[in-house]
C-alpha cells in the first residue's frame, strides 16, 4: 500500500522507517515546514537525514503531501484539542479523495468523533486509529473483535510518564518534584509535563475508548471527562497505601457513561499496578470475564507498529 505520512516526530519517523518492512511504500512525508513527495516511493533515509540536518524533511510545501499519490494517509501530527486542527482537516482531505486514514493523532477522534465518522460514511475510505490508545497494545482492535456491544467497561493505566513517576515515588520514597526532575533527565517526561501528569493524555485515550464503546449512541469529548492529575500526591499518600498492601496509580475508567481519570488505590500485586512506563488496559466483557492487555503504551517504533497494524487491516483499494 502507498502511504503518505504527515508528521515527522517520533511516530511519523518510525512509520516511514518501518513501512518497507511491512511491505508498504512511503510516497510522501511531511513535517510542519516541508515535504518530500514521489509516487514511486521517497528515499526515507535521505528525507530523515535532511530532517536531522536542516530541520525539515524536504523542500516541497507541506500541503503537497496531502495532494500526493497514496492509498492511506497516516496522520501523525501533534494532538491538538478543541477543533483538532490541522489534523482534522487532513482527515477530511483524505476522505474526500476516497482514501483511507490511519490516525496516531488523538485530536480528531477524541474531540470530533461524530464529525470524523460522518465524513467516513460519505467516503470510500476507512478511518482506523489503533495507535491513539495505548501505543503498541491492541486495545481498539480487541474491542472491535469482541464487539463494543459486549464490553461493559474499560479501565487502565494509559500514561507511562505518570505511571513512571508514581512507581518511582513508591519504590524510592521520593517526592513528586524530585522524581519528575529525574524523569525529565531520563527523557521519560517532557520539559512541560502538564499533558501527562495532569491526566489530559490519559483522558483523551479514555474518551476515544468511550466513543468506540458508545458507537452511534453518544459522542464524548474531553469536556465529558472528569480528570484529576497526580501532581498533588505527596509521598506520604503512597506510604500509607503501601502499608495497606496497595499502591496509587493514575487510572482511567470508562463505565456507565462516565469517563474518569484520577489517582486510585490499587492492590500492590494486582494486574493494574504495572510499574515503570508500562501500560495496561482491562476490558470487562459480557460473556468472557476480564481481559488484560498490557505492553508499551508509547514510543516511536511501538506506536508505529500499531499504525502499520492498522494499515494491514485496511481493505486493498
Amino acid at each position: 500500500m502507498k502511504l503518505a505520512v504527515l508528521g515527522a516526530g517520533a511516530v511519523g519517523r518510525s512509520v516511514a522507517e518501518l513501512a518497507g518492512d511491512y511491505g508498504h511504500t512511503v510516497t510522501a512525508l511531511a513535517d510542519s515546514s516541508g515535504a518530500v513527495v514521489d509516487g514511486d516511493g521517497i528515499d526515507v533515509d535521505a528525507a530523515l537525514a535532511a530532517k536531522e540536518a536542516d530541520g525539515t524533511v524536504g523542500s516541497a510545501r507541506p500541503e503537497t503531501a496531502l495532494e500526493a499519490e497514496y492509498d492511506a494517509l497516516v496522520e501523525a501530527t501533534p494532538t491538538t484539542l478543541g477543533d483538532a486542527e490541522p489534523g482534522f482537516g487532513h482527515v477530511e482531505a483524505a476522505l474526500e479523495r476516497d482514501r483511507h486514514v490511519v490516525l496516531a493523532n488523538k485530536g480528531p477522534v477524541a474531540e470530533r468523533y461524530a464529525d470524523v465518522r460522518a465524513l467516513e460514511r460519505e467516503s470510500a475510505g476507512d478511518v482506523l486509529f489503533e495507535a491513539t490508545v495505548g501505543g503498541a497494545m491492541p486495545v481498539l482492535s480487541t474491542i472491535d473483535d469482541f464487539d463494543p456491544e459486549h464490553i461493559t467497561a474499560a479501565r487502565g493505566v494509559l500514561n507511562g510518564t505518570a505511571n513512571f513517576i508514581l512507581s518511582r515515588m513508591a519504590a524510592e520514597g521520593l517526592g513528586y518534584e524530585h522524581v519528575l526532575a529525574e524523569a525529565q533527565d531520563l527523557g521519560v517526561a517532557e520539559a512541560d509535563p502538564t499533558f501527562d501528569v495532569e491526566g489530559t493524555d490519559a483522558a483523551l485515550k479514555c474518551v476515544i475508548v468511550a466513543n468506540v464503546l458508545a458507537g452511534e449512541r453518544r459522542e464524548y469529548t474531553l469536556d465529558d471527562a472528569t480528570v484529576e492529575g497526580i501532581s498533588s500526591i505527596p509521598g506520604s499518600a503512597l506510604e500509607l497505601a503501601q502499608e495497606d498492601g496497595r499502591t496509587i496509580r493514575l487510572i482511567g475508567e470508562v463505565a456507565d457513561g462516565d469517563v474518569r481519570v484520577g489517582p486510585r488505590l490499587v492492590p500492590e500485586n494486582a494486574a493494574l499496578s504495572v510499574s515503570g512506563t508500562r501500560n495496561i488496559v482491562q476490558l470487562e466483557t459480557e460473556h468472557a470475564g476480564r481481559l488484560n492487555i498490557s505492553g508499551r503504551g508509547a514510543g516511536g517504533p511501538e506506536t508505529a507498529s500499531a499504525v502499520l497494524a492498522d494499515v494491514g487491516r485496511l481493505p486493498e483499494a
Binding site: I233, A241, I248, D256, G262, P267
Partner: protein
C-alpha cells in the same frame, strides 16, 4: 491473567462472641489458619447484643475459596456468624486523603464524612513526615452498606473539595483489580 477465583478480595465477617476471656483470640485463629489476611478488627465491647454477646467485626482479605474455608472453620468452632462477606458491609472502602489535614481539622473532616456518607470509619492511619503544619496524608477505611459505596465516595469528594484536600479513591465499576 486474572482468574476471579484466585483474586484476593476484602471481606467483612460479623461475629457474636460470648463475653469470656480468650474468645476474640479463639475467633481469629480459624481466619489466620486458613490463609486470611486480617485487615482490621472492630471489637464493640460497649455494645452488647440482647443475648449478652459482644459483636465483633473483622475485615480480612482472602481468595473466595479461602474465604469459604474460613467461614466453615468458624462455624465448626461454633461461632455465631451474623454476616459474612457480601451481605451487609460488602464494601469496605479504603481512601487516602492528602493536604493540610491537621490545619483543616481532621476530626471534623472525619465526623463530617461519617455523617454525610452513613459510613463508619473503621480504621485511620495518619502520616505527616513534614510535621503537622505541612502536607500530610490519612488512610481511612470506611465500611458502607451494600450499594452505598458510590454515594459515600461522592460525599467524600465534596468534603475534600471544600477543604481543598486531594482524594485518592479506590477503583469503582467492578471493584477489585
Amino acid at each position: 491473567m486474572s482468574d476471579s477465583q484466585d483474586e484476593v478480595r476484602a471481606y467483612t465477617v460479623r461475629l457474636e462472641l460470648v463475653d469470656e476471656p480468650g474468645e476474640l483470640l479463639r475467633a481469629l485463629h480459624p481466619i489466620a489458619d486458613n490463609g486470611g489476611n486480617l485487615l482490621s478488627i472492630f471489637h464493640e465491647r460497649g455494645n452488647m447484643t440482647p443475648r449478652g454477646h459482644i459483636p465483633v467485626e473483622v475485615d480480612l482479605e482472602a481468595t473466595p475459596e479461602r474465604f469459604e474455608d474460613i467461614v466453615e472453620a468458624l462455624q465448626a468452632e461454633n461461632f455465631n456468624i451474623i454476616q459474612a462477606g457480601a451481605e451487609r458491609y460488602s464494601e469496605a472502602l479504603t481512601i487516602v486523603l492528602s493536604g493540610h489535614l491537621v490545619n483543616t481539622d481532621l476530626s471534623h473532616t472525619l465526623s463530617h464524612i461519617q455523617e454525610a456518607t452513613e459510613a463508619t470509619v473503621t480504621d485511620l492511619s495518619l502520616s505527616a513526615p513534614e510535621g503537622t503544619e505541612d502536607v500530610s496524608s490519612a488512610r481511612l477505611r470506611l465500611a458502607t452498606e451494600a450499594g452505598n459505596a458510590d454515594n459515600a465516595l461522592a460525599a467524600v469528594r465534596e468534603i475534600a473539595a471544600e477543604k481543598e484536600l486531594t482524594v485518592v479513591e479506590p477503583l469503582t465499576a467492578g471493584g477489585d483489580a
